[in-house]
């Protein structure tokens, strides 16, 4: 595993007497896209605001490239590019001047670099227009552009595909993957759209009521875990016995169907075995438990405390 670019160490936030973030501990590594998932009100935005120093932590620390955000803000934040919540820009300035504005606040950003990020996000044609005339999708691109100006090691994007059309979403997704894979940027993406996260992220952290309840590898879950397979076969009794022998797993037998948790790769072998034993197969269906099911399993529905 590559180096940890950002570490959250027992991060807590108490407002009044209510503890809204209850000790978050996780790391984000160079070159990975980390999905930060949770229902509204779970503490995603509060956590992101603490990561970039907009909100002070009550306890714990966020360390970015070895620098504490609370004690060594300037050194820590110079490695971070971010959009916090909506990509809000100065509506009366052109897209270009918005970028110049932020470029002036960081050392060593040339005009050349500004042109470069404008090309990257595909805004060349309309960069001279006032940002107030931009659609949400264009502002999202401009927001990503300002976050990339200084070649950050950590890119934090809050709901980055919000307001984009499907082709825009695909572009941004491809671009985020490219940043992570080719430039080694650690990208943190928050979202509540799960399918979106599945396609974009390497790992995902699920937050609920200020607690991290699960971190999982996205692609691992899809490949290695067993899937639920439903066989429609007769005779049912004999099939159940054979299936149990073949898979070594419990078989749930219905009137005409048999349900078993098994590896997807093993399905063809099992089917041919069943056929050889003279069992008549009418159907084989896979129930993939989607991330969404898992997510709902984890957080429960309507789970805001």
């Amino acid at each position: 595993m590559s180096e940890a670019v950002m570490q959250l160490k027992n991060v807590k936030k108490t407002i009044g007497k209510k503890e809204i973030i209850k000790g978050l501990d996780f790391e984000i590594h160079a070159g990975e896209v980390f999905g930060f998932l949770g229902p509204n009100g779970a503490g995603k935005t509060t956590t992101i605001r603490m990561m970039v120093g907009l909100i002070q932590m009550t306890e714990g620390d966020v360390v970015i490239k070895g620098h504490s955000i609370s004690r060594d803000f300037k050194q820590a934040i110079r490695h971070v590019g971010a959009i916090v919540e909506n990509p809000e820009m100065y509506p009366f300035l052109s897209g270009w001047k918005n970028l110049v504005h932020y470029a002036r606040m960081m050392p060593g950003i040339t005009e050349e670099r500004i042109h470069e990020v404008v090309r990257l996000v595909g805004l060349e044609k309309r960069i001279k227009e006032k940002a107030g005339k931009y659609s949400l999708g264009m502002r999202q691109r401009l927001g990503i552009a300002q976050a990339l100006l200084h070649n950050p090691s950590v890119l934090i994007l809050d709901e980055p595909t919000n307001g984009l059309d499907p082709s825009g979403i695909r572009e941004i997704r491809a671009y985020i993957r490219k940043l992570a894979e080719e430039e080694g940027v650690a990208v943190i993406v928050s979202s509540h759209i799960l399918s979106e996260m599945e396609m974009m992220c390497d790992r995902m952290g699920v937050i609920k009521n200020g607690e991290l309840i699960s971190i999982q590898m996205v692609h691992e879950t899809q490949q290695r875990e067993d899937v639920e397979v439903v066989f429609t076969a007769s005779p049912v009794d004999q099939s159940a016995t054979v299936l149990k022998e073949l898979t070594g797993k419990d078989v749930e037998a219905g009137e005409e169907t048999l349900t078993v948790q098994m590896a997807k790769e093993a399905i063809p072998d099992v089917v041919s075995e069943l056929v050889q034993k003279g069992i008549r197969i009418y159907g084989v269906n896979i129930h993939t438990s989607t991330l969404e099911d898992k997510f709902l399993d984890l957080i429960g529905e309507g789970a805001v405390e």
Binding site: L54, Q56, E85, F92, K97, R104, M105
Partner: protein
């Protein structure tokens, strides 16, 4: 230091691209021009006839004699009704001058209240608008301390206030000189201070008065800036500052008998009271007022700093 300059440049860029900045400047220009035209057309505003012929001393003496008889009617020179002032002019050989560009500059000091209003709007907006627009979240995640960002905004407000006062002064002078001429530009200005008449060069006197007004505006603007930094709300900062600016002097009249009245900010903001006319509270001195203002000023800045740098930037 260079990145501080860049920050101030950013703030000016934002000011320049907002329509309201230009509208405020246009309003000021229109009012100066309007006043000039009104004064030109209606001589009642410019003191009417002026005894500035070769025998002006004799004319003033005659008018003084008429005034001392208690007759106010049919005065030849309605602008010269103060016997003492006329006497002072005669004794010091300062001939009255016709209304000229300098007089216009002096009269337009009244518009400094408007400049103050505009400076308050800018001072309140420069911090609170970033919160309203949501851009504060992008502004504060740069490798710069919050103090530096706050200071760059404050310096911008100060330079804006200064620029507007300079604009008022220069534009009044140009308009005044064009409409009323430059006659008597070298003549000293006669004014009353604590009941005594004095004279001073016009350039230095008008600069002094504008300069003292600028201090008053700076205090009010800093107050608006502080409210905006604490409450992060443009309307509240503008409303409260304007209310205090308007109500301030009336409050002093209610409390004038109290011993602590002289420590109230508004008893001290008008520094021109020490130059022309007499102070609102008799035992005030210029030095005392400046000390009181300095204390308020430092408190305003400290509170702005503490609230802006320490408070969380939470969701809206």
């Amino acid at each position: 230091m260079s990145n501080f300059f860049q920050l101030v440049r950013n703030e000016w860029m934002k000011l320049f691209h907002q329509k309201s900045t230009w509208i405020m400047m246009a309003i000021l220009a229109v009012l100066v021009l309007g006043a000039g035209i009104l004064f030109k057309v209606d001589a009642a505003f410019t003191n009417g006839e002026v005894p500035n012929g070769d025998n002006w001393k004799q004319e003033l003496q005659e008018q003084n004699a008429q005034l001392m008889e208690g007759s106010q009617e049919d005065l030849k020179y309605p602008g010269y009704q103060n016997v003492q002032e006329n006497q002072y002019r005669i004794e010091n050989d300062i001939a009255p001058t016709a209304y000229n560009g300098w007089d216009f500059v002096g009269d337009n000091l009244g518009l400094s209240g408007l400049v103050g209003l505009f400076a308050i709007i800018v001072g309140a907006g420069i911090v609170a608008n970033e919160f309203r627009w949501g851009t504060i979240k992008l502004l504060l995640i740069r490798p710069l301390s919050r103090l530096k960002i706050l200071l760059s905004k404050y310096v911008t407000v100060l330079t804006y206030t200064l620029a507007m006062m300079v604009f008022l002064y220069v534009f009044s002078l140009i308009t005044g000189a064009a409409l009323f001429g430059m006659d008597g530009f070298s003549q000293p200005h006669v004014y009353q201070q604590n009941g005594e008449f004095q004279d001073a060069g016009l350039l230095s006197f008008s600069l002094l008065k504008y300069g003292l007004s600028l201090i008053e505006l700076t205090i009010m603007t800093t107050f608006a800036f502080m409210i905006a930094a604490i409450f992060r709300n443009t309307s509240l900062a503008i409303g409260l500052s304007i209310f205090l600016m308007m109500a301030g002097s009336s409050v002093i009249f209610f409390l004038i008998e109290k011993e602590w009245a002289k420590f109230i900010l508004f008893a001290n903001t008008n520094l021109n009271q020490f130059v022309e006319g007499s102070p609102i509270i008799s035992d005030l001195t210029l030095g005392f007022s400046i000390t009181v203002l300095a204390v308020y000023y430092i408190v305003f800045l400290l509170l702005s700093w503490i609230f802006f740098t320490k408070r969380d930037v939470a969701g809206s």
